[in-house]
Amino acid sequence: MSNQFDYSWIYTALFWLLFIFLLNEINMLRVTLEIEKYLGSIRTIYYTALSKAVQSIKDLVKKYNINVEDRVVEGRVNSIVNSVLINPTDLDPHGIVSKLKHIITVADERLSREIRHILTTVPDDVLENVKSVLSAVRELNYQYKLLDHYYRLGKRFKAIWLLWQLQALMPFYYEQIKAIESAVDAFVNGYPIGDSVGPLVAYKLSLSCEGRSDPIEIAKNTVLIETKYRGRRVLIVKAKGPGSTTGFLDDAMRVIFERYSPISLVITVDAALKLESERSGTVVDAVGVAIGGIGVEKFNIEEIGAKYKVPLYAVLIKMSVSEALSVMTKDVAKAADEAVERVKRIILEHTKEGDTIVVVGVGNTVGVAQ
């Protein structure tokens, strides 16, 4: 019998103890490295977008011979990009929609005034494009800072669960951020984005109907075109292009219902998010009001529809988030023609001669005139 002590079990135990603790550290390192890579890319995207925005304003200053120094432009852009919108309190939700609309309207007017302070003589449509560029850069700034905040928190407290959640969500945030980056390019150049498909359908529909009237500005940045189609009066509403604006469609609808009642049918045409299995540019019928965003306009149009007991139909054009914010893709542009035919079919099948129909082209009308 040997009296030599067997140390092998101690080495095994030590190995497993170290392995358990090191595994956690290795995991932490792997996760933080991946998040850092994403954050690095997002930081680059943000700074590139910021410099593009500043440069586009400086170009406009030169083009329109405006006497503003570069540092004033940079300071103003910096202040706009870091500004925030404070939502109204929802402790008592009653009447929150009107409060939200008021805040959005004030924010929009203030942004216009801030930019007008530098770009004193640029046309309104160019001003709207600059507003959209700065809004996109502001969104990029906010998203970058938010993601970076959670990353720093997770790293400081070694909160692996927080970092895992961030790592899991990063591809989705990154896709959105890439889409906003593409939107900046589209707004700087004034090209239509995927979300412009609603106004594009409205424009194409107005061309394909008879007796097209001149567009009238029925609400702020929102136009109405009156046309005829197979004995029906078709009122086409869209944001005022080709500048980047979504208009005030609910205000326009309120005026239309006061002036043109009785209305037999309201059709909203908008871009809708597709599921992964769906093809981009698929045209889908819907019932209800198709308007995205924070829901103020949707709420108000639904209220009008319910008050006047008017059927609310919708035509949706499916696309991904990145397609909605990037320059319009070929699939989506082709779908606009199909959507025009779909709107016409709905009008023929659900109304009779002599009826008045309202067609609303919902979305950002950048690069689409009327």
């Binding site: 994403y38 990154y174 150049n189 093809r279 990145s322 070929k330 542009a333 689409v368």
Partner: protein, 100 residues
């Protein structure tokens, strides 16, 4: 055979191969790279149409154009040539089967 003989055992070779595969997986198939591939765009195009005779033509996009802009006269009938649509031809990451 000589190459394998350089390693102390087959186990080390397997370990290296596994590490190499892991490295390849994290560099090539990371979600970030997949997203990068998804965001590739090709050229911008615009479709112009004549409001009078319906003639259509696809061209490269010029700076400052927008849908509805009159950009000249039709070579066939002299009617107004209007920008009908502006779009980017996107390269899809793969020709997947879609449910429509």
């Amino acid at each position: 055979m000589n190459f394998i003989m350089q390693f102390e055992s087959l186990g080390i070779l397997v370990l290296f191969l596994v590490l190499l595969l892991l490295l390849l997986y994290y560099t090539v198939f990371s979600p970030r790279r997949v997203l990068k591939r998804m965001n590739r765009l090709s050229a911008l195009r615009m479709e112009v149409t004549c409001l009078k005779c319906g003639y259509r033509e696809v061209r490269g996009v010029e700076k400052g154009v927008y849908v509805g802009m009159v950009i000249g006269k039709c070579s066939r009938c002299g009617g107004d040539l209007v920008v009908h649509s502006i779009y980017a031809e996107k390269i899809s990451p793969s020709e997947r089967r879609y449910i429509t």
